[in-house]
């Protein structure tokens, strides 16, 4: 049974507030109705996913169907969080797409090694980001089968 793409929550781990704002704008411009949740760093991300800390209230967070992960974050960075997620049997099914400024080959390789489903370098122009959102939406929510949870 195919779930409705529109009900899937996208969880975005991004430390930069401007980037968060722009991403939200891009999502709107892409006419995606998905709920977009933000966490600001790796710690919050893990708390959200595990429903610990300030996310212990069950209603405050829904299990995301897709995680957009920035690699460079304070406290715990995306790389660490990624490793943790993919090590956790409960969480590792959730597709993770890295969305980061880094173009470093090393980061790309390591991310794929850890099991990410995609790696996107943040575009310079907003148009491009909107385009990415549109494409991502159509790919992940219309074409691809997400794991049921």
């Amino acid at each position: 049974m195919k779930q409705s793409g529109k009900s899937i929550t996208i969880l975005m781990a991004e430390d930069d507030p401007d980037d968060r704002f722009l991403s939200k704008e891009a999502l709107e411009e892409a006419h995606l109705a998905n709920e977009l949740c933000f966490v600001e760093n790796g710690e919050e991300l893990m708390q959200y996913l595990k429903r610990t800390g300030k996310y212990s209230e069950p209603s405050s967070c829904t299990r995301p169907g897709l995680i957009l992960l920035d690699l460079n974050m304070p406290k715990k960075d995306g790389r660490e969080a990624l490793a943790e997620i993919k090590a956790d049997p409960e969480l590792r099914r959730i597709p993770v797409v890295v969305l980061t400024t880094s173009k470093a080959e090393e980061d790309i390789l390591r991310s794929y090694d850890l099991g990410v489903s995609g790696y996107i370098t943040k575009p310079v122009k907003l148009e491009e980001l909107i385009h990415i959102m549109k494409t991502m939406g159509s790919y992940w929510f219309e074409i691809v089968q997400l794991p049921p949870y």
Partner: protein, 742 residues
């Protein structure tokens, strides 16, 4: 003895002597011949004298015969009157002093009457002459006997006396006194000290003159003269000792046979010295003359040989001796001498000249090498190669460099090994051992405790010197003080480490900072975009314009940050040098620039490019920038034509590598060469941003790349006349991969 004969003078004298020898011999021989002839003559003379004596004797005998014949007729003898006979005979004997006795004997042998007054009765019947007379009734000459009546040596004659009937009645005897030899001797004129001798063949002396009383009547058969006479049995001469011991030349001849067959000899003896006096004198005269002449000849020989030969030879010997002793300036100096000795002297001087010359050359060469060895700032040494290697030579610099004098070093064979720094000692000594054993070269760098206890770093290199058969002879090498170099190396290492660290820090910093710097720029651009899109209606034309300019500025900054990153990466991300075929490289670049070539309608012509040792990524960057620039900065209505060519310049300076010179010639806008320095600086642009895009980092990156490879870049141009960029790169890089030139 042999050395005496090897002297030149003695040899010359011997030569003269030998040449005189035949003459000497000849003279001696003729002298001896003469003497022999003279001796012969003397002998003949004496023989004649002897014969004369014999003849005289013969005459005497005849006389006796006649006397007896007469006497036998005398009536005193005929009558048988004894007294008358006696007085007659004794009176007669006085008339004939030569006769010892006259006697008349009866047929029975008893003496009837005698001239001698001695009256003892004597019988001569046993006498052979008496018996002979009785037998033959003729005149008989008897043997030489000693008369019984007188006791003298006599020669008896006997004659028969017949009576009237003709029968033998009595015998007349007359005895000739043999002292008549005196008479004889004076008659024949004997020379002084000569002797006259009559002897019978029994060896009895019958008569002798002089000193008859000494010898007459004695039988001296052993005397040499008597032996000679008896053995000869005839005439002869002999040089023999006489009865008195004096050597004489004797000539002897037999006296006439007596009737009984006995024989007697008369011998005349002349002392040899008197006989041969004249001859000997002659011989002596001749020999003396000869000796004198020979001596004279020898003296002349000595003088002349000295004058012409020995003196010259002495000069040469002297000069030779001086040169042998070391005085090379000695010369013989007989310039005008001719002949073999002169030639020898001249050749000798020539040889001495050459010797002196060579000695000089040798000495100056030796001095040069010595000064070379002793003045170069290293210690030169040679050691023996055996089990216990000891120093054979150490140059004087050892004092200055290590603080030990050459004498100290030479006297202590363990000095070197004992002063090597403890930590280095084992390795160095074992290396040295190996080199020594295998005859290999030795090299080491180690610390050494100088006398002052200062630690010196030494570079020690030695080779094993071998003979043509490959046997090791000795170890020869040098010590170089490399303390300064070691210090510099250590400093270099520290510096290099620091550089490495700083590079790494820079790289990290560049990466991080470019990343972090880019962030805000992206925001500016993004929100600028949002403004333009979302609030399009609200923004006026100016507003839009402001936002555009703002975005452009941000974009430029991004580009600059990226370029800076690229620029810093030239050194921080430099990889090692490998062989790069620039032809392949340039083809890749051209294919990357395809779009731009097509857009501009331009063309790129490439000549054959070399293969060099370089960093491939950076070569790509270099070529891309230069060819890209050439395409970019084209003249307005002229399609760009880029010509890339190269040539190889052979190795020149200390890097010992040839250089590849690559030229990029374009027909673009060109520039004034007074700006040559500026164009290679980061972010320096000559043209405005509106005309030609680009951040101005390209040429700066090119220069950095080229300099990292140890090469250079420059350009030649003129406004409106195109530009030629000339890049020089070493074909070979050194091992460490560092090619920073100052």
């Amino acid at each position: 003895m042999s050395s005496f004969f090897s002297s030149l003078r003695v040899r010359l004298l011997l030569l003269v002597l030998l040449s005189a020898l035949p003459a000497l011999g000849l003279t001696l021989y003729s002298g001896i011949e003469q003497r022999r002839l003279a001796a012969n003559a003397a002998q003949q003379d004496t023989l004649r004298t002897a014969r004369l004596a014999a003849n005289s004797q013969q005459a005497l005998i005849e006389g006796a015969h006649q006397l007896l014949i007469s006497l036998s007729q005398v009536p005193q003898v005929q009558s048988g009157e004894g007294n008358a006979c006696q007085s007659f005979l004794s009176g007669l004997i006085k008339q004939y002093p030569n006769y010892a006795v006259f006697s008349v004997a009866q047929t029975d042998g008893s003496i009837f009457c005698t001239s001698s007054s001695d009256s003892h009765p004597v019988n001569i019947a046993d006498r052979s002459y008496f018996q002979q007379v009785l037998k033959t009734s003729q005149f008989v000459i008897g043997d030489y006997i000693t008369d019984r009546i007188t006791g003298k040596a006599v020669l008896p004659f006997a004659y028969p006396v017949f009576d009237s009937s003709g029968s033998l009645e009595r015998v007349l005897v007359a005895a000739l006194d043999l002292s008549w030899v005196n008479q004889l001797a004076s008659a024949i004129n004997l020379p002084p000290q000569s002797s006259l001798l009559i002897v019978d063949n029994d060896g009895t002396i019958l008569a002798r003159y002089p000193e008859p009383e000494k010898y007459v009547g004695q039988k001296l058969a052993e005397s040499p003269i008597i032996q000679t006479i008896v053995q000869a049995r005839g005439e002869g001469t002999a040089e023999v000792e006489g009865l008195d011991g004096i050597s004489r030349l004797y000539a002897f001849t037999p006296l006439t046979h007596s009737s009984s067959g006995g024989n007697a000899f008369v011998a005349i003896g002349v002392p040899t010295n008197i006989a041969y006096a004249g001859v000997n004198q002659l011989l002596i005269r001749n020999l003396s003359a000869l000796i004198v002449v020979t001596l004279l000849a020898l003296v002349f020989a000595v003088l002349i040989s000295d004058l012409f030969i020995l003196n010259r030879v002495k000069s040469i010997i002297q000069a030779t001796g001086l040169i042998a002793a070391g005085n090379l300036s000695a010369r013989v100096g007989l310039k005008n001498e001719t002949g073999e000795l002169g030639q020898m002297a001249r050749d000798f001087d020539l040889m001495a000249d050459k010797l002196q010359e060579r000695e000089e050359l040798l000495r100056s060469a030796e001095a040069r090498y010595r000064s070379l060895v002793e003045e170069i700032p290293a210690v030169i040494y040679s050691y023996s190669i055996g089990e216990h290697s000891r120093p054979l030579y150490i140059s004087p610099q050892v004092q200055e460099i290590l603080g030990y004098s050459a004498e100290e070093w030479m006297s202590d064979q363990n000095l070197w090994s004992s002063r090597i720094f403890a930590q280095d000692c084992a390795t160095v000594t074992s290396n040295m051992e190996q080199a020594r054993k295998n005859g290999e070269d030795f090299q080491a760098e180690y610390r050494f405790r100088a006398r002052s206890e200062r630690l010196i770093w030494l570079r020690d290199e030695a080779v094993v010197v071998k003979d043509p058969q490959g046997r090791s002879l000795l170890l020869q090498g040098f010590l170089l003080d490399i303390t300064d170099r070691k210090k510099a190396e250590a400093a270099m290492k520290v510096y290099a480490a620091r550089l490495e660290r700083s590079n790494q820090e820079l790289q990290d910093f560049a990466y991080i900072s470019s990343h972090d710097l880019q962030e805000p720029l992206r925001k500016i651009q993004a929100f600028g975009e949002r403004l333009k899109v979302k609030f399009r209606e609200q923004l006026s034309g100016d507003g839009q314009d402001y936002i555009d300019r703002m975005q452009n500025a941000a974009a430029r900054m991004q580009a600059m940050i990226n370029d800076l990153l690229l620029y810093s990466r030239v050194s921080t991300q430099a990889r090692s040098f490998i062989l790069v075929n620039l032809n392949d490289c340039v083809r890749e670049v051209i294919s990357d620039l395809e779009t731009r070539i097509a857009e501009t309608g331009g063309s790129v012509e490439i000549a054959d490019l070399p293969i060099i040792e370089a960093e491939p990524v950076q070569m790509r960057q270099l070529l891309q920038n230069l060819i890209g620039n050439a395409l970019k900065f084209h003249q307005k209505n002229r399609p760009p034509v880029v010509k890339v060519s190269s040539k190889i310049i052979p190795a020149q300076d200390w890097r010992f590598t040839p250089t590849a010179q690559i030229s990029f010639e374009d027909n673009g806008i060109g520039f004034d060469e007074k700006y040559l320095d500026r164009i290679f600086q980061p972010f320096q642009r000559l043209e405005s941003r509106s005309e030609y895009e680009g951040s101005g980092i390209g040429l700066a990156i090119c220069r950095k790349i080229v300099e990292r490879h140890g090469g250079g870049i420059t350009a030649r141009s003129a406004p409106g006349q195109g530009t030629t960029f000339i890049v020089t790169l070493p074909v070979k890089q050194n091992e460490k991969g560092e090619q920073e030139i100052s």
